[in-house]
């Protein structure tokens, strides 16, 4: 579990690396698609950490309805 916490951090720093690469024009056009894909994955992962997966959210919404 602690690893997951790290992974959020790692994800953020990986995202920041991609930003730096983009800003400093270090990226080749060939890499862009891969990087974009990777960034999307990372952002999705991070969002899940903040907002929960859809399943989790739905479950909570259900719980709220029951109340």
């Amino acid at each position: 579990m602690a690893k997951k916490t790290n992974t959020y951090k790692e994800s953020i720093s990986e995202l920041e690396n991609i930003i730096t690469e983009l800003e400093e024009n270090q990226l080749e056009i060939d890499d862009l698609a891969n990087k974009a894909k990777r960034a999307t994955e990372l952002i999705k992962f991070c969002k899940e950490k903040l907002y929960g997966t859809e399943d989790e959210v739905n479950k909570i919404l259900e719980d709220l309805d029951k109340e």
């Binding site: 916490t5 995202l15 862009l32 960034a39 903040l50 909570i60």
Partner: protein
């Protein structure tokens, strides 16, 4: 043998009278409460003690009471002034009157109390705890921990009966942003006697599974804001200060911060404030993520746009370059063509010139040759003329012909031969004699 004796009652009545006479005044005394309880009638019964300087050995002990009519006034006054309930272990300065009752014995009846003494003593203890924590070098340990991101897995220490807990969980889980919090409840006694030990116990449990949590929230929802001395106790504060997870407090009191508040990573006033803080942290994290997402998007857009325009520029410059190259080539060709024309006409001109020159030369040569020949011819003519037989015949010479042939010697001629002599003006035949 008769011994004088009095009844127990008489003796005690005598003591009661003597004491009433001797201790008719009221006395301000300093003591520590070792026991305290209220009864149904509203009276308060205590045991007061005094310890030696080591604080371990009890050197004096007495019963005491606060009668209901006094207690009704003293109790709220003391709480208002100190923020604390009277409780065991507390040092107090009280005004007492001494009494002795034949049935109930010695008693100190408390008539008044000086809260500032207790405040001073508590402050001293508190200061002592702070000094000790600093001396131990653990004062800043929890405070300097970084709050993890995201901050979602919260171990909550609170009382199971606290009404505020439900509100806290509601507030946390029904946040409008939709953040997911994973909360785990660790029940503890949050105030009064045993609170410190109970909280330490809960912390120990969390410590054993610390990797499952991002932070610990110590909250005390609702209830009177009294009897929070536990939060100034050294043991609890030391435990919090050294705790490996960030501790967020929401103990809910209006007075000065407790020592636990001071050593905690984050101090909030109330459980509500803790929930708000946690949501705020998530807002920050989410904002950060959003910013990253947006700058990624715009950077990638920009990257693509740049790449696209670079490509277009390249294509453009390619066609431009081709055009330029073609133009240059054409120009070069035209120039070459011109050159060739020029060269050819020059060549032609020269050639023509040369031909012209040659013609003249040939003419001249021919002319001179002709005249030379002419001259030569003339000379030859003359010579021929001089040598011609006519010319010689004219000079008086004659030619002798025998049988059609020129006779060059007299030996060719015999007697009787007919010869023909040719003269310039005719011929004559003759016969040799």
């Amino acid at each position: 043998m008769t011994i004088d004796s009095i009844s127990l009652k008489d003796l005690l009545l005598t003591i009661r009278k003597e004491m009433a006479d001797a201790f008719s005044n009221a006395y301000w005394i300093r003591a520590e409460i070792s026991e305290i309880r209220e009864n149904a009638n509203g009276h308060c019964y205590l045991e007061l003690i005094e310890k030696d300087s080591s604080g371990k050995l009890i050197v004096a002990k007495s019963r005491a009471s606060i009668w209901a009519d006094t207690y009704r006034m003293i109790k709220p006054y003391f709480v208002k002034e100190t923020g604390q309930e009277l409780k065991s272990g507390m040092k107090v300065m009280v005004q007492v009157s001494i009494s002795f009752h034949e049935l109930y014995g010695f008693n100190c009846a408390i008539r008044d109390i000086e809260p500032s003494f207790t405040i001073g003593d508590l402050a001293k203890k508190r200061q002592e705890a702070i000094r000790q924590l600093q001396e131990d070098g653990i004062w800043d340990m929890n405070r300097t921990l970084d709050l993890p991101t995201p901050l979602t897995r919260i171990a909550i220490i609170t009382s199971s009966t606290a009404a505020g807990y439900g509100d806290f969980i509601d507030q946390l889980k029904k946040n409008k942003q939709g953040y997911i919090f994973h909360t785990t409840f660790f029940p503890a006694t949050m105030q009064g006697d045993g609170a410190a030990d109970s909280i330490i116990n809960a912390l120990d449990k969390i410590y054993e599974q610390q990797e499952q949590y991002d932070a610990v929230a110590i909250i005390r929802g609702g209830g009177a804001t009294t009897d929070l001395l536990a939060y100034d106790e050294y043991e609890l504060a030391a435990c919090c200060a050294q705790f490996p997870l960030p501790i967020i407090t929401g103990i809910g009191h209006d007075r000065d911060q407790s020592v636990v508040d001071m050593v905690a990573n984050t101090r909030c006033k109330t459980p509500t404030a803790v929930a708000a803080f946690l949501i705020e942290q998530m807002d920050e994290t989410a904002d950060n993520l959003l910013q990253i997402e947006e700058s990624l998007k715009s950077l990638m857009d920009e990257f693509l746009k740049n790449a696209h325009s670079r490509l277009r520029n390249n294509a453009l410059s390619l066609s431009q370059r081709i055009h330029l190259l073609l133009r240059e080539e054409k120009q070069e060709m035209e120039r070459t063509q011109g050159n060739i024309k020029h060269s050819i006409s020059l060549l032609l001109m020269r050639q023509r010139q040369r031909i012209k020159e040659s013609n003249v030369k040939i003419k001249n040569t021919i002319k001179s040759r002709i005249s030379e020949e002419k001259h030569h011819l003339e000379i030859s003519e003359k010579a021929i003329l001089l040598l011609s037989p006519d010319y010689i015949l004219k000079k008086g010479y004659s030619l002798t012909i025998k049988e059609g042939k020129i006779v060059k010697s007299q030996s060719e001629l015999n007697k009787g031969d007919t010869i023909t002599s040719i003269f310039v003006d005719g011929k004559k035949e003759s016969i040799i004699k």
